[in-house]
């Protein structure tokens, strides 16, 4: 259960090695140790993540999860709930991909779409069913500002995030009557392994800063947050910039 001051007792992280996802778990754990289920493909990075969380006093369980194995999702999510209620579920897996390759190579394009959109929808359905039955809980879905308006430099990734963003925004409403709270998070440029070597965009941020925003959103039951917060204004303006000007912007 999430208590009166917003401490969850258990967190499920789908994308168990995601830097931002792990930062969210650590931010919760720094206030109160919790039970953590890390769902990801087994790897040494996953083991390291487990060790790091255990040092914070968490009880950590690994759960093999492959975003591309769609037919296993329902069973995997089912397993995640066998140890008791899941108070916060974080959907943090995703691929950035190389945009030029992605829009010219069909396999790359389809893989991006499968992981970022189809798999996100698939786990969203399974999580929705479980959380609805539970009558409480928070679902955090990592979208991206890239989904708000497609840019030439990043539109394949952007299109997948636009789709998953719309799905989870709708899920927010669908699950509301059941007492389940959904937060869609739209980070901008975050310094992680995924963005290593890329030129940082303005307003770039860190996983810890994003995590602080997510924790606050869960505690105050916000349904849509940007990280950092000023992106809300920036994107609101960018969405309405005429195309002729937009394509000339250095973004």
């Amino acid at each position: 259960m999430i208590d009166a001051v917003g401490n969850p007792q258990s967190v499920l992280l789908l994308g168990g090695t995601s830097e931002i996802g792990l930062a969210v778990v650590e931010a919760f754990a720094s206030d109160r140790p919790l039970r953590v289920v890390l769902a990801a493909r087994p790897s040494s990075r996953l083991d390291e993540a487990q060790a790091r969380l255990e040092k914070l006093g968490c009880a950590v369980e690994q759960l093999p999860f492959d975003a591309l194995a769609l037919d296993t999702h329902a069973a995997t999510i089912g397993k995640a709930f066998t140890g008791g209620d899941i108070d916060v579920a974080v959907v943090a897996f995703g691929l950035l991909g190389d945009n030029e390759q992605a829009w010219t190579d069909v396999d790359t394009a389809v893989e991006l779409a499968q992981v970022n959109y189809t798999a996100a929808v698939s786990v969203g359905v399974a999580l929705g069913e479980k959380l609805k039955a539970q009558g409480h809980g928070s679902l955090v879905a990592f979208s991206s500002v890239a989904g708000e308006r497609a840019r030439r430099s990043n539109f394949v990734y952007g299109s997948t995030k636009a789709g998953m963003d719309a799905f989870y925004s709708g899920l927010t409403e669908a699950l509301r009557p059941s007492g389940v709270h959904v937060t869609v998070v739209r980070p901008g440029f975050v310094h992680t392994k995924m963005t290593e070597g890329l030129k940082p965009a303005p307003l770039s941020t860190t996983p810890d800063a994003v995590a602080a925003i997510v924790v606050d959103a869960v505690r105050s039951r916000k349904e849509l947050v940007w990280a950092p917060a000023p992106y809300r204004i920036v994107m609101s303006v960018l969405r309405h910039v005429p195309r002729a000007i937009f394509r000339r912007l250095p973004i």
Partner: protein, 450 residues
């Protein structure tokens, strides 16, 4: 039956359950036996601050649909009532017969079922004990849908005492027989003393406590320096007819309990801050100069907050929590430490109540035990979690414990430490409900049921 979002009086941590309002014992039994995998819990008037009357994803029985007063015996003082009857309703019915509820908490908006489930206490605890001490029999619907007549000393006394203070997790109380006290009037003779620091306040409260039927003190947690913890000690006895002024003698059992206003749900967070708390504390302290033998009615003495409906809305949408604990009598120093930590953390509490408990009862999960109990209200905001964790350690290290009716954020470990008889209670509970049909957000959060 409808999906309803439920919160406690502290207005935190909402969850959704299917709420149904049974009207008969049979309907209670039917709802219990047809409960789904998330189980069922009874709810009264929702005055618990945290989550004991919520059941996310499961069923919640709104017991206020069962609110009949079956009998009032003026001679013996025995009353038989449904669990959904409020203390307020019962008092209004019983007072004309010269009968008084011996245990009254800070509000009368509590059902009989809730009063038993939380084994509530009042300002008279040092003399009369807690609510369970005055229950002569109760009717419990258990997980298999059967009804049990339980008494404190007869067959099933174990289940009786597991139900007292058992937070609704042994079954659904549907009816109870209570032993009320006889009084000549509905008024109190009140001695009020303004005392200008905490040490003297506690010292004074230790003296002559047994000469009074009701004692409590309120103190100021905002003023620092030599007047730290200055407060008002209020002690009272039931007024006899002869003590009443002639004007009140005509109708000595009049129930004088108006509700003047209801707070609208419009307050922003942060309205209670160090500035407003200072004003409130100053006013509250000044309004009660030392005075002996004043005649006060029930609202003036016992329930000043009942004058304002839904006063919890004043804390704004983020809600608040009430932190109440008891520590042994020889650890009165903890009271001061807790207040100092709160002040150091910049947390503001305007309603601070201090009381000395008398002996506890046989119920394994009953909160009161001989000692000092302190209760503070704190709005939810940054830093509260860290402060409460710190206070937990201080309280538990001193051999203290939390009050489950107020609890909303501690850990299962803290409850295990504070309630050494938890396992004994669990054994009785599990025997009555092997499948774990009775469950609440609190029972999951604090791992009360095994």
């Amino acid at each position: 039956m409808s999906n309803t979002s439920l919160r406690g009086w502290g207005r935190t941590a909402p969850t959704t359950a299917r709420v149904t309002t049974p009207r008969t014992v049979d309907e209670v039994a039917a709802a219990v036996t047809s409960a789904g995998p998330r189980g069922v819990i009874a709810r009264g008037l929702g005055r618990s601050y945290g989550d004991p009357a919520q059941n996310a994803g499961g069923t919640v029985l709104d017991m206020t649909g069962m609110a009949a007063i079956h009998s009032v015996d003026a001679d013996s003082g025995r009353v038989v009532v449904d669990a959904g009857v409020s203390l307020d309703t019962l008092m209004r019915r019983a007072l004309p017969f010269g009968l008084w509820l011996p245990v009254l908490p800070g509000t009368r908006q509590v059902t009989i079922g809730g009063a038993i489930g939380a084994d509530i206490h009042g300002k008279a605890h040092h003399v009369v004990g807690s609510f369970g001490n005055h229950v002569r029999a109760l009717t419990l619907v258990t997980a298999d849908g059967t009804t049990h007549e339980l008494t404190p000393d007869g067959d099933g006394s174990e289940l009786f005492w597991a139900t007292v203070g058992g937070m609704g997790l042994t079954g659904v109380v549907v009816r109870a027989e209570l032993a009320l006290h006889h009084v000549e009037t509905a008024y109190f003779t009140v001695d009020t003393e303004q005392i200008d620091n905490l040490a003297d306040l506690m010292e004074r409260q230790t003296q002559d406590d047994e000469l009074y039927a009701e004692t409590v003190s309120w103190f100021d947690a905002v003023t620092t320096g030599p007047h730290f913890g200055r407060g008002i000690l209020m002690r009272a006895n039931h007024a006899t007819l002869a003590e009443l002024p002639p004007k009140l003698r005509a109708n000595p059992l009049k129930f004088d309990a108006p509700q003047l206003l209801t707070v609208p749900d419009i307050f922003p967070p942060g309205l209670l801050n160090s500035f407003t708390a200072k004003i409130f504390s100053e006013a509250w302290y000044r309004k009660s100069p030392t005075k002996f033998g004043a005649i006060q009615n029930i609202t003036q003495f016992l329930h000043p907050l009942d004058v304002i409906g839904e006063w919890n809305r004043g804390y704004g949408p983020r809600g608040f929590l009430q932190y109440q604990f008891v520590v042994p009598l020889d650890r009165g120093d903890v009271i001061r430490t807790v207040l100092e930590r709160m002040t150091a953390a910049g947390q503001v509490s305007a309603l601070n109540v201090l009381k000395r408990f008398g002996e506890g009862n046989r119920a394994p999960l009953s909160f009161p035990k001989p000692g000092w109990t302190l209760c503070v209200d704190i709005p939810v905001g940054p830093g509260l979690n860290a402060l409460c964790n710190e206070l937990d350690a201080i309280v538990l290290d001193a051999g203290g414990r939390h009050y489950l009716a107020k609890e909303s954020r501690t850990t299962p470990e803290a409850i295990r430490r504070g309630y050494p008889r938890l396992d004994e209670w669990r054994k009785v509970r599990d025997a009555a409900d092997p499948q774990g049909v009775f469950a609440s957000d609190m029972s999951r959060r604090l791992e009360l049921s095994s």
